[in-house]
Amino acid sequence: MTQVSMTVNGKPVSGEVEGRTLLVQFLREGLGLTGTHVGCDTSQCGACVVHVDGKPVKSCTVFAQDVAGSSVKTIEGMANADGSLGTLQQAFQDHHGLQCGFCTPGMVMSSAALLADNPNPTEAEVRHHLEGNICRCTGYHNIVKAVLTASGQPVAAE
């Protein structure tokens, strides 16, 4: 076991990991941050997307030790300081951009990364950007509406 340290949602954290410990396992099992989901575990579905140093990555396909020292942001870090939903999260709720909710953490993290790079994406750009995030309930339309609604407005702080 090796000691690993990083910053998660603005707070310094550390814990013991094996070589094979995935970032998503460290977040969920090590830190108890179970908002990040494991869907396919093969980097297809995007339920596990988190930001590492501001960039979206699939945390099921990153070793915890490989991102030691990085700044990680998860769905738990997307709410406003007072605990209320961030703009993007609120838009998902307003547009019913989720049904079972399983893909939602990854959808929100991927969408937040898009809006950070491109504050006013077209619908086509939103759909293209989310091609690595799979939803099996809503059929994407409401998710795209939520992202478009949130665009151009302040997104939860990066």
Binding site: T2, R20, S43, P56, T61, D66, L114
Partner: protein
């Protein structure tokens, strides 16, 4: 996944020493190797991460050559090569999805030499030089068949040096689920000739289409391909497409790439 010792050197020299050890395996972005390890198809005892080596990251341009550090993620190539080598940037920006592009690297892609990967087509069509921890290898000598390269035990790619073509384009026909190339063609026109490299089609991995290169050297137009046939005897047949289908795609996509290159 079986456990292993994880090490993350900060220099090429240190990485080369670590990769000389028994059971050691290089790890770049991990977007292929990690799923492979989860399936226990690979079980290294030591995993040597190459993503902490600053001298293997980033792009530089000198004397008509674009050099890309092997540990540079696709997203960085997509953004930073856009002005100097737009066809390469477009290829990098079409690999996988945004999250995969933030981890996957050019070095990892060509070292794996997946028969449907995009980067080998760019490297071969550009006549690039693959720089490794030991030597410099011409692209024509580097790719040696499906999942096979000239890399020796313990040797790893450190950068790729691309001669910048006058005109170039990459066109791929996506396999819609994986976004790998069902077939992809990279066409590059230089002062001294044209190179055409095809990925996704052959059982032997990326290859050059010599007849098209000769025809395009005379006339760099899609019409120049009329009358050329593509031999489908060694093309891939799978549930996504037959050998004949892929052979047809090679010709169609080459024409589209020539038109796109302008």
């Amino acid at each position: 996944m079986f456990d292993f010792e994880f090490v993350k050197p900060s220099s090429i020299v240190e990485a080369a020493r670590l990769l000389g050890g028994e059971g050691a395996q290089a790890l770049s972005g991990g977007q292929t190797l990690m799923p492979t390890m989860k399936q226990r198809l690979a079980a290294p005892s030591v995993l040597v991460s190459l993503t902490g080596i600053a001298e293997m990251k980033g792009l530089s341009v000198a004397a008509g050559t674009l050099t890309v550090g092997a540990a540079t993620p696709h997203a960085v190539v997509a953004a930073e090569a856009a002005r100097v080598f737009p066809a390469l940037a477009a290829l990098a920006g079409g690999i996988g999805d945004p999250a995969v592009r933030n981890r996957g690297t050019i070095g990892g892609s060509i070292a794996n030499n997946d028969p449907s990967a995009c980067y080998p087509a760019a490297v071969l069509a550009s006549g690039a030089t693959v720089v490794t921890s030991k030597r410099r290898i011409a692209a024509d000598d580097f790719f040696q068949g499906m999942f096979s390269t000239a890399l020796e035990e313990g040797e790893f790619v450190t950068s790729v040096a691309f001669p910048i073509p006058e005109k170039a384009a990459y066109v791929k026909f996506n396999q819609p689920a994986s976004r790998f190339a069902l077939t992809g063609v990279f066409v590059a026109k230089f002062a001294g000739g044209v190179r055409v490299a095809v990925t996704g089609a052959s059982n032997n991995g990326v290859f050059r289409w010599a007849e098209a290169e000769a025809a395009l050297a005379k006339s760099f137009t899609a019409d120049a391909l009329q009358g050329l046939g593509v031999d489908d005897s060694d093309m891939i047949t799978d549930l996504h497409g037959t050998a004949a289908y892929r052979a047809n795609l090679v010709k169609v996509l080459t024409g589209r790439a020539v038109s796109a290159a302008g």
